[in-house]
Amino acid sequence: MKLGPFAGSGFPTGGTHAATLRRSAPSGRGESCVSSSERNLSTVLGASTTRLGGSQETVAPAAEQRQSDRPANAASAPAIAAQRISKTFRITHHPATLKERVLHPFRRDPVEILEALQDVTFEVGKGEFFGIVGRNGSGKSTLLKVIAGIYRPNEGQISVEGRLSPFIELGVGFNPELPARDNVVINCALLGLTRREALRRFDSIIEFAELERFVDMKLKNYSSGMQVRLAFSTAIQVDADILLLDEVLAVGDANFQEKCFETFRRMREEGRTIVLVTHNLSIVERFCDRAMLIDSGKLVAIGEPPEVLKAYRSEVRPKLRSKEGAGTPVGARPGEGSAEVLEAWIEDSSGQRVETCLQGEQIRVCARVLFHSPMRNPEFGFDIRNERFEVVIAANTGWDGVETSSFKAGEQTRVTMELANVLAVGRYSVGVSVAYQYGTTVADLHEGITGFQVDGERWTPGAVEVPRKFEVEVEE
């Protein structure tokens, strides 16, 4: 088995991660990873086996049916096999110092143990497009780094069959002070290519990134889109059997995202294995053969995307909900405080409060406001932000010329904005503002007071999904 680009270099950070802290004797070149330490692990972890243990199915690599030009794919050995992976981080509140160590050799600062991954077992078949979903902080990025060999698991073993290329971040090593050529060389070197190889490919990288006119410019003068294009064109130069992708798709414009997907689709057709970490459920639905859901470092579900997404909706989203809606406390919010946004929520057209709404339906964004001092003709505003924190919809009674009457101190009011739900599939947060004196003085501004999910059939990299009609005609 090949252990990634850095195996055998004598630098243990590299790809060899048939790893346990106990350092189970590396069995040959790692293929037969279930060794005696596996038994040890069960005794260690036996008690802590989670309720989720049962849901871990070992699914035969779905990709086997897919025809491919790589004979190796016929073998049933998985591309990635993770056995009861656990990863904990020790967080100290003071940085450790040599002085402390010398003066108080036995004293240890209290450490907080963060269990980023607990007893995670899964396999990824060769040629599979495998999704890992979970909310922020669920441990999915840690898992990716464990697979990549950046972090070593505390417990368990992971074996990787084939050359692995991590796309955890695009453009690693880019330096804003240098022009494209140097940056491509650095980036390539970090990805494992030689200087000569990088330079040989430079022209075509630039061409693919559509940056011909900007070759001699320093990177700091590139727009972020240009940087991403350069980074992506460079990254796909590296030959790999397994690609690890961490939300790299979230960046760049729609055109570019499409280009990325196109590339990944082609790579999958070539029989490469792709592991994608994301919290964008629609991408999982659209691309993945199988997926896995992790939450709080534990494996919750693994299997076909629809099942996993169902688990996400029933298990993870309710927790997400309970944490949201609190927003920032009054004192910490902008606004001079003569009115207060108490709560906000989403209703469907029948007046039912909902957390999830369907694309294309009518929805109402509602808020309850309490006035602490009398106010004449206040202006109420809503903004709706997507996962990228872009304001997709912003509306205000003042801009729309709506009269809102006068309020006495202690009075409450309910504000409703009804609109057609044209939002793209994804998660949104709602902000509510109250202003007066023709909108010049802000009484309260409560960002992120509530959140909701938009579900729909159609995936789009855009921010909204509006009714439309295409016409394609042949012009004479």
Binding site: P5, F6, A7, G8, S9, G10, F11, P12, T13, G14, F89, P95, A96, T97, L98, K99, R101, K145, A148, G149, I150, Y151, R152, R163, S165, P166, I168, E169, V172, G173, N175, E177, L178, D182, V185, I186, A189, L190, L191, G192, L193, T194, R195, E197, R200, R201, S204, I205, E207, F208, S233, I236, Q237, V238, D239, A240, K259, E262, T263, R266
Partner: protein
């Protein structure tokens, strides 16, 4: 643009990454070139500044020890020795001090990509070594200009410089690993580097040390051995060689052991630390 044409891979088939030692060397060299370029990029005075620092130190120390203290006057080719020793010592101290934070400074890389981590301090050291060689060319020109004879013994210099580079690199690598886990490594080492400056014959020469015990201790310092041998080989053949100053070849074994010890320690330390570096930086 999503037609087959445009999405075809640029440059034909993807390239196979190189592995193992080759990748390590490539990466080290490219990182070193980058640092070198960044220092001089669009900066004509760049090289001047790297030479200016040892020159300034030389100027101050030379004036201090020939005019005020009247100490250097008695030493043959004092100016030539002083400048050469300063350039060599500055290389050592700057490399090691710069290396201390190198891994933590490159946290953005380390957390995002699996890579041979030693390439980071080693690239810094390589970059500094290039600068050292450039400086040495200038300094040896000056040395010859002050009337020092160029002899076959100058051929010892590459060996001396080689050992110095080895020592500096190993120390730097060791410190960079240590700093990941102990953040006070840096101030501690800065003080150590100051101490080492005075524990190394730079402004003085080894014959100035008349106390026998002190001499023994000083000659444990590999830097003192290197400087003394450098003086014998390059500046003044009548000056004692390192073996003569130490009192016999056998006394050169402890400093040699120190160099090898630091090297071994840095390798062992790195092997032990490497798996945890990414989560600690």
């Amino acid at each position: 643009m999503s037609n087959g044409e445009a999405s075809a891979l640029p440059g034909g088939r993807p390239a196979s990454p190189v592995e193992g030692g080759r990748r390590f060397v490539e990466l080290t060299v490219i990182l070193a070139i980058t640092q070198f370029k960044l220092r001089y990029y669009g900066n004509v005075l760049g090289y001047f500044w790297t030479l200016a620092k040892p020159l300034l130190l030389f100027g101050v120390l030379y004036v201090a020890f020939t005019e005020f203290v009247r100490f250097g006057g008695g030493i043959e080719h004092y100016a030539a020795y002083l400048i050469t020793a300063i350039v060599l010592y500055t290389y050592f101290s700057e490399t090691t001090v710069d290396c201390v934070t190198s891994l933590v400074d490159k946290e953005q890389l380390i957390r995002k990509i699996p890579m041979p981590l030693l390439a980071i301090p080693l690239s810094l050291s390589l970059d500094a070594a290039i600068t050292l060689l450039l400086n040495l060319v200038a300094v040896l020109g000056f040395v010859a200009f002050t009337g020092v004879d160029i002899t076959w013994r100058w051929l010892e210099l590459p060996l001396i410089v080689g050992v110095l580079i080895l020592l500096s690199t190993a120390t730097g690598a060791l410190l960079s690993n240590l700093y990941v886990f102990f953040r006070d490594t840096r101030p501690i080492w800065e003080v150590m580097a100051q101490l080492l400056f005075w524990a190394t014959p730079v402004v003085y020469v080894i014959e100035n040390v008349t106390n026998h015990t002190l001499l023994r201790v000083l000659m444990l310092n590999p830097l003192a051995v290197l400087m003394t041998q450098m003086r014998h080989a390059v500046i003044d053949p009548t000056a004692p060689s390192a073996a003569q100053a130490a009192g016999g070849y056998v006394w050169l074994l402890p400093p040699a052991a120190i160099v090898l010890g630091v090297l071994a320690l840095s390798v062992v330390m790195h092997r032990r630390a490497a798996p945890r570096i990414a989560e600690q930086v």
